[in-house]
């Protein structure tokens, strides 16, 4: 046979082979359609698959030092596909043991009941049974994963965990309204949860589920599932201790005065970071809780009252050449503009005052007269000062739903002859407490006005994805001399003016009281919004704060008596804890030099107690009870001290007492030499060590 013929023959054989294959394909199609047809029709109804959404884990909200303010914790439904384990794995001993564990853990069925449940499901080919009437947390999940049969995992042991997220706020209602909360669809509705929802929510995935008997769904785990993308974390500027102090002080005052609502904001002068923000509103039952963000929200827009006199004073000092020692006649406490009367709070009036006194004593008449005199011709000029102070527009704060100031301008129809004098002492214009705080902070910050900031960064684990820096709104709100004068007067308010009830000898507070009558149905009533806004320590301002309490009942109705004490309480607390604020103490008063006690490792709750008692900032990253320490910024971070079965833990840094407890509990014996903490161990950590072995520890 020649070559070509042979090749032709062979290629034909090959063609016939493939043709047979092709026929087999067609035959198989026929087989599926006609022989098995009914079966597949039935199955396609019974085993419907569904492509369902899988929720992504929502990101966490952190405080300034990394403490959790809100996080999503996973909880798990425990289920099993009893048809998966091999007969060998599911032997009597393992099954008995597993049934006992289930019964002992969930305490809802007897071991024999569980055993029966698994066996009968396996016999009937039921691919999905759920255990216990509740979800389990992560720690419990880890425990369950070690049970017999289950420890072989999903593919071999048939163990199924289904994750569900629940939102958890470790500090309960602290800063509740600012941190915010989410609705049932896991969408943030207020606060940061709402404003930063896009970052926090992550991206939901999708996965295949199989419908099984009883309308239940079983995850398929197919490669075509769309993976979820977990939400990003948000780092706020909130200092959790300060927040606690602020909220406590405000709450106490509100309770005492039976006020309608109150808000308190503490801001760091140099950075504009909001360190604490508390908003408490009265409920119908007379209790207070975080009802609404009055500090920044629309409902929080009010007439500022006397605290606005700072802006007035600034405009006067900038525009004219009046000096603080110039005198002004305030008369008997009433003064008429057209047919309306301006009143001072002091009965009988202040008479003749210096301008500085007029501010410190908060004379309305003085302000009204001065402004009318200097800006009466051109009120637009006065308003342009307010515009420069960013008090006439929204701040652009990081929370949605910000309140917008209301301000009447000369071109408006509501403008009248008394608008300007009234405005001079904080009436006829409305703004949020945050606006006022921003102004005082600017004075404290040597004239540089910065935008308040609540969220510092958006991060994914340790990686910073977006950073929000301090934003300067106005680099210099007024001239140096004016600034100096304003500071003198603000200090004077506390030293000898309206707020001298909060004067103390340890550090100086500078600020201004405010008492504004509440306008109801177009009439000013005998109810007030009291406030105090200022900064401290006056010599070198570190924090500014505003306290605003609306409608206090009872005897006290003034900013000085209602709001200022709250300011002082917060300031006192910060001052006592913040070493940086203190003037340096001379060498001889200092504690003995030498070795300070250090924390290296130990039992977490004990160490936390000590640190909290001593005011050492600390935070935790582990649920374990035994921890090691790491330094993170100015604070101590607790890390898990790993203990896994027979593996020797890392004992370095533990006290002898703790080390002995840990080792002997595991059945190891301990010998030691030296004094102090463990500096080395005879067997390296992580080594598998049998019970009864001796471990030698060196202390030092």
């Amino acid at each position: 046979m020649n070559i070509k013929k042979s090749i032709v023959l062979r290629v034909r054989i090959a063609f016939i082979i493939l043709s047979i294959f092709a026929l087999a394909v067609i035959f198989k199609i026929g087989h599926i359609q006609f022989v098995q047809g009914e079966y597949w029709d039935k199955v396609s109804n019974d085993y419907a698959y569904k492509f369902l959404d899988v929720k992504a884990t929502r990101g966490s909200i952190y405080s300034d030092n990394g403490s959790l303010l809100a996080t999503s914790l996973p909880f798990y439904k425990v289920a099993m596909d009893p048809t998966i384990p091999s007969a060998k794995l599911l032997n009597k001993q393992n099954l008995d043991s597993l049934s006992y564990q289930l019964s002992n853990f969930f305490k809802d069925k007897s071991p024999s009941r569980y055993k029966q449940m698994i066996q009968s499901a396996r016999e009937e080919g039921d691919k999905y049974i759920v255990f216990g009437g509740r979800t389990v947390n992560y720690l419990e999940k880890r425990k369950i994963m070690n049970w017999p049969i289950f420890r072989k995992g999903r593919m071999k042991g048939g163990l199924i965990f289904e994750k569900k997220e629940e939102r958890f706020r470790p500090f309960n209602n602290l800063g509740y309204r600012t941190i915010g909360y989410i609705n049932e669809e896991e969408k943030g509705v207020v606060g940061l949860e709402y404003s930063f929802n896009n970052f926090l929510k992550g991206r939901d995935g999708k996965a295949w589920y199989q419908k099984i008997s009883g309308g239940k769904l079983r995850p398929v785990y197919d490669e075509s599932d769309i993976k979820t993308e977990d939400g990003l974390d948000i780092q706020t500027s909130i200092d959790i201790n300060l927040q606690d102090v602020t909220e406590t002080a405000l709450h106490k005052a509100l309770d005492y005065h039976q006020a309608e609502y109150g808000t308190a904001v503490v801001m760091e002068v140099a950075t504009g970071e909001i360190k604490a923000i508390s908003n408490l509103g009265r409920t119908s039952s007379g209790k207070y809780f975080e009802k609404y963000n009055y500090a920044i929200g629309r409902q929080g827009v009010t007439e500022p009252g006397s605290t606005f006199k700072l802006a007035t004073m600034m405009a006067l000092l900038e525009e004219t050449n009046i000096s603080l020692n110039d005198s002004i006649e305030t008369g008997n406490g009433t003064y008429k503009f057209y047919n309306s009367t301006v009143r001072d709070h002091h009965a009988g009036g202040y008479g003749m005052l210096s301008i500085q006194d007029a501010f410190e004593k908060s004379s309305n008449i003085a302000m009204a007269k001065l402004v009318d005199q200097h800006f009466g011709v051109d009120p637009g000029k006065f308003l342009s000062y307010i515009d420069d102070l960013k008090m006439s527009g929204p701040i652009g704060f990081q929370l949605y739903g910000e309140g917008v100031p209301k301000i009447v301008r000369p071109s408006d129809t509501e403008w009248s002859g008394i608008t300007l004098p009234w405005m001079s002492y904080g009436y006829g214009l409305e703004m949020t407490p945050m606006h006022t705080l921003m102004l005082y902070n600017a004075v404290a910050n040597n004239g540089k006005m910065i935008k308040p900031i609540l969220v510092k960064s958006v991060r994914k684990a340790e990686k910073e994805l977006e950073r929000y820096d301090t934003e300067v709104l106005n680099n210099q709100i007024c001239s140096e001399p004016t600034l100096r004068k304003l500071k003198i007067m603000l200090e004077g308010v506390v030293e000898r003016g309206t707020a001298n009830n909060i004067k103390n000898s340890y550090y100086k507070i500078a600020g201004k009281t405010g008492t504004a009558q509440i306008l109801k149905n177009g009439r000013y009533t005998k109810t007030y919004v009291t406030s105090f806004v200022g900064y401290f320590p006056a010599s070198k301002p570190k924090y500014s704060a505003i306290i605003l309490i609306k409608d206090p009942k009872g005897h006290y109705q003034y900013g000085a008596s209602v709001a200022a004490p709250v300011f002082k309480e917060i300031a006192d607390n910060i001052y006592s804890r913040d070493i940086e604020l203190h003037q340096s103490i001379s060498e001889k008063y200092r504690a003995e030099k030498g070795v300070f006690p250090v924390i290296r490792a130990g039992k977490k709750d004990e160490l936390m107690l000590i640190c909290n008692e001593l005011g050492i900032s600390n935070h935790t990253q582990t649920e374990q009870s035994w921890v090691k320490t790491a330094v993170s910024g100015n604070s101590v971070k607790w890390k898990e001290l790993e203990m896994k079965g027979k593996a020797l833990p890392d004992l370095i840094g533990l006290t002898l007492r703790d080390a002995i407890y840990l080792l002997e509990q595991q059945g190891w014996k301990v010998r030691y030499s030296g004094l102090g903490r463990v500096v080395s161990q005879s067997v390296p950590s992580g080594t598998q060590v049998e019970k009864g072995k001796t471990i030698h520890l060196n202390l030092g």
Binding site: L18, F21, A24, V25, K28, D41, W208
Partner: protein
């Protein structure tokens, strides 16, 4: 007008007109089915379904363009080009495996820089190996019985390339290996040597499984297939849903765009596109597609009778077998004749480089048939005269 068109086709589309028609028909079917099947994909990723349609159509045109370009190349050059590409594909395959291994996943793709398209080196290697094999076989026709000088190099190349592909993609390697056996059988390699080749293949396969990353997948897919033979409820998710699609289709199908299983079936537009064809166009549609591939095979292997030189015939037959064999394996998987493999249906499935390389292979077949229509000798003389004048 029609006459003009006909002439212009004749001038530009050389080679076997039947193959051109077959390719166009398959491409048309591909567009129809892929458009229907990507509905879920578009929904899943919130994209406009037309995006996939346009993308896929463009790729098909790219494939056809590659076919047209290749068919204009004189097939005598393929032998030399393929040898270079074969040498090149060894480091490429190694690189793909190592890169994938560091990422701890089965990465079969490398991204071509600048144009930023992913490309599967195994496609290139397959094409190069088949061409080289045809060339080696044709050169050794006189002493094909001689084991040492004739067969050893071929066996080594088959072993090396299939083994390297098996590191990341076992089913492709197996398919290529079987195709090589088929080509050698056609190329008159004695059957006893082919039996030996099976041994080499088994050895290379086992080694590649141990070294490679696909062992677990291969074993679980095989076990799944074995179990499903006795109990259909044990079928994997994909196979299970493809059976339902086939059963749903009946004889005439549900009609274009009416598939329900496309929503259930993962990758209905690639590996399991044949299930959607049957669901929408019925058993008849399935028979038509199978028939189209068989005709393609028949036309492709005709070169064996016509060409005087064994290289052209062997190459054309080899490439036709490679394409059609893959198609049949894909369809066999869909209907349940074998375990799940992950091989696309040539020309029909959505997916970039696969279509491109199929186009090149078809272009090569057309280049050979084009030369044959002049007669093998005349091409030879034409080439020599050209070189003489040049």
């Amino acid at each position: 007008m029609l006459e003009k068109l006909k002439i212009s086709f004749k001038q530009n589309l050389k080679g076997d007109p039947v193959i051109w028609i077959l390719v166009l028909l398959l491409s048309f079917i591909s567009i129809l089915v892929v458009y229907s099947a990507t509905g879920t994909l578009a929904y899943k990723y919130m994209k406009n379904p037309e995006n996939y349609l346009i993308n896929h159509t463009l790729l098909l045109f790219l494939g056809l363009g590659a076919m047209w370009l290749t068919h204009n190349v004189n097939f005598k050059y393929f032998s030399r080009i393929s040898r270079i590409l074969l040498l090149l594909s060894v480091p490429l395959l190694m690189y793909t495996f190592l890169k994938g291994a560091t990422l701890n996943e089965a990465s079969r793709w490398i991204i071509i820089p600048i144009i930023n398209k992913s490309f599967q080196p195994s496609d290139l290697a397959s094409l190069a190996l088949i061409t080289s094999l045809a060339s080696m076989l044709s050169k050794r026709q006189q002493n094909i019985q001689d084991f040492k000088s004739a067969l050893i190099p071929m066996l080594i190349w088959c072993g090396v390339i299939c083994g390297l592909i098996a590191l990341t993609n076992l089913s492709s390697a197996l398919l290529l290996f079987l195709t090589c056996m088929l080509i050698m059988f056609i190329g008159r390699v004695p059957v006893k040597y082919l039996a030996m080749l099976v041994l080499v293949g088994a050895l290379a396969g086992v080694t590649a499984l141990q070294l490679g990353v696909r062992k677990g997948t291969a074993i679980s897919r095989w076990e799944n297939f074995k179990e499903s033979l006795s109990d259909p409820t044990q079928l994997g998710f994909q196979a299970f849903n493809s059976r339902i699609a086939i059963a749903n289709g009946k004889i005439f199908g549900k009609g274009p765009g009416q598939s329900i299983q496309r929503n259930m079936l993962p990758h209905p537009y690639s590996d399991f596109v044949f299930a959607i064809i049957i669901e929408e166009y019925g058993m008849l549609g399935g028979i038509v597609v199978v028939g189209l591939y068989l005709i393609l095979l028949y036309r492709g292997m005709r070169a064996v009778y016509q060409s005087e030189q064994p290289f052209g015939g062997l190459l054309s037959a080899g490439l036709s077998f490679a394409i059609v064999f893959q198609a049949l394996v894909n369809m066999g998987v869909v209907v349940g004749l074998g375990p799940v493999t992950g091989l696309p249906l040539p020309l029909v499935s959505m997916g970039g480089t696969s279509i491109l390389f199929t186009g090149i292979a078809l272009g090569m077949i057309q280049s050979i048939t084009r030369a044959d229509s002049y007669g093998g000798q005349s091409v030879q003389s034409k080439v020599t005269t050209k070189t003489a004048t040049a």
